[in-house]
């Protein structure tokens, strides 16, 4: 699920951009420090694979709806957290630019919700400990399913926290969570099952591709740092938002049925002003188009 530009405030969006930029920089340094030129095309092709995999919609048993792979957990299991995160960040970036999935301001939030949740939390803290060194059969399925649920639920929590902290939508956090979390738990379970199926096929066809080595202490520290930064930023954003009259408190008060303000008359001159503005913009647009058409014809 992509967080959208339209629901973010610049403060929250910008702060999450910073956190993401930091995480990308650290991951990139880690990937560049272990110079294995073989990994460059491998990571690129796996990014393209995640994209291609998302075009394959499969039916989810018993629901009549369909789903597709997200890929975060898979990438972490194949490449390790840092490289997996970098690949997922590039996938989210391409989605934002070509498919308008989320938008550019929300890019930071989306990379965190989708990449950091799976690569830096679900993989090292859930998948790895449960799967062990040589995951097979039931163990792999359990580890992947719980890992998938963890990443998707964390991502949903991120979306709710970011939306609420931004205060653009009036949707209060409680009902929003109640709406998103169960859905994402199901999507996460499906993601986990798909990841397990893929890993099983892969490790059977290519036994020499052992799972990525266990996360080091530094990797765990990094996980904690990312989580702390995200919580801190979300907390600050919420504080900031609630300090503003138009922020979180307002929406809570509003939905709690507090006394509404007197309705104001529609500012008719401003509406007329919008008409003039848009007419002027449209005129300029038509003029430029005509000029370009002439330039092309010439």
């Amino acid at each position: 699920m992509h967080m959208s530009d339209a629901l973010l405030s610049p403060a929250v969006g910008g702060a999450l951009w910073m956190v993401t930029a930091g995480a990308v920089a650290v991951s990139a340094r880690r990937v560049e420090r272990a110079p294995d030129a073989r990994r460059v095309p491998l990571m690129g092709v796996l990014g393209a694979f995640v994209f291609a995999a998302q075009t394959v919609n499969f039916s989810i048993p018993g629901t009549g709806s369909s789903g597709h792979l997200m890929g975060g957990l898979l990438l972490a299991a194949l490449l390790g957290p840092a490289a997996g995160f970098l690949v997922l960040a590039s996938v989210v970036c391409v989605q934002a630019l070509f498919f308008a999935d989320g938008g550019l301001l929300a890019l930071g939030a989306n990379v965190l919700n989708m990449g950091a949740a799976s690569c830096f939390v679900a993989y090292p803290l859930v998948f790895r400990p449960l799967a062990g060194a040589k995951p097979t059969g039931a163990r792999l399925v359990v580890a992947s399913t719980l890992g998938g649920v963890t990443s998707l639920v964390l991502g949903a929590l991120g979306v709710v926290a970011q939306t609420t902290a931004s205060g653009v939508s009036t949707l209060p956090a409680g009902p929003f969570l109640a709406l998103l979390v169960p859905i994402h738990a199901v999507i996460g379970a499906v993601e986990g099952l798909a990841t397990a199926a893929l890993l099983r096929v892969l490790w059977r066809a290519r036994p020499e591709l052992a799972p990525a080595s266990a996360p080091s202490r530094a990797a765990r520290m990094f996980t904690v740092a990312i989580a702390a930064a995200a919580v801190l930023v979300a907390g600050l954003g919420a504080r900031l938002a609630s300090a503003l009259p138009d922020g979180l408190e307002w929406s809570v008060a509003r939905t709690a049925g507090a006394a509404p303000a007197e309705p104001a008359p529609v500012p008719l001159p401003a509406v007329a002003g919008v008409g003039i503005t848009l007419a002027a913009v449209a005129l300029l647009f038509a003029l430029l188009r005509a000029l370009r058409r002439r330039a092309r014809g010439a």
Partner: protein
């Protein structure tokens, strides 16, 4: 996303390979202008619908200067809409208190809020799409590198974009083969999809090894060098200044209200 998605991605990128005034602008200037624009759009409050109007100037002028047909933007916008629409749809339900009245009819704060979210959605996402359609993904990547993005990330962006088309075509062939042999089903089951994607993944890894061999044969050491010349010139300065002026004015001055007041004052 659908299989058709890869086609959309190709067509948007192909728009940028034409020689247009917008395509000639420096990629870094366009990247920064787009980011600033998106931040300013987001900075408006929940009920600031009317104040967003002047900002329509940025995407429309860029589309005109880049010869980008508007329908190339509308399709992705429509496809991307569900989430923003879903959240926006709650606004009228949650916030029913009348915020404005016109001729005795009350307009709820939620209705205004919903319209504002939709307007912001259209403005900021069309700006992102226009960046690609007037610049081209490779130039965006070079710009990001020159603006300080890590080398490993830029290499990932380039390779992901390059092989997306190849792998999406492979996935499309698998799906077609499935459709031909399972005519009763609209889409594969989880089990079949797992096998299908597993085979795709195994082929993808083999491809990565072949690409690596091809790279090594041409002296690859880990860097993907791109040759892009040019530094910002006068048109770039003009574009940057115009964008900055638009964003500052739209942020600082309530343009529609001023215009409306001026109009009302000018009338007898």
């Amino acid at each position: 996303m659908t299989v058709g998605g890869a086609g959309q991605l190709g067509s948007l990128g192909a728009l940028a390979s034409r020689d247009t005034p917008a395509a000639r602008l420096d990629a870094r200037v366009k990247v920064l202008a787009t980011l600033a624009f998106v931040a300013v759009v987001a900075s408006f409050g929940r009920h600031d619908l009317l104040r967003l109007a002047p900002l329509a100037l940025f995407p429309l002028v860029l589309a005109a200067l880049g010869d980008v047909p508007l329908r190339a933007l509308l399709r992705p916008l429509a496809l991307a809409a569900p989430f923003a629409l879903g959240v926006a749809a709650f606004e009228p339900l949650l916030d029913r208190a009348p915020a404005f009245t016109v001729g005795g009819v009350a307009i709820s704060g939620g209705a205004v809020g919903m319209a504002t979210i939709l307007a912001k959605f259209a403005l900021s996402l069309s700006a992102a799409l226009l960046l690609v359609a007037t610049t081209g993904f490779d130039h965006v990547c070079v710009a990001l590198r020159r603006l300080g993005a890590p080398r490993a990330l830029v290499a990932q962006l380039l390779l992901t974009h390059r092989y997306l088309f190849v792998l999406a075509a492979e996935a499309g062939r698998s799906l077609r083969a499935h459709a031909l042999r399972a005519p009763g089903r609209r889409r594969p089951t989880l089990r079949v999809a797992g096998t299908m994607l597993g085979a795709l993944l195994v082929r993808a890894l083999a491809r990565a090894e072949r690409i690596h061999a091809a790279m090594k044969c041409r002296g690859f050491e880990g860097e993907l060098p791109l040759v892009r010349r040019g530094r910002p010139g006068r048109p770039d300065a003009l574009f940057a200044a115009a964008t900055a002026a638009l964003l500052l004015v739209a942020r600082a001055v309530d343009v529609p209200a001023r215009l409306g007041a001026g109009l009302a004052g000018g009338l007898p």
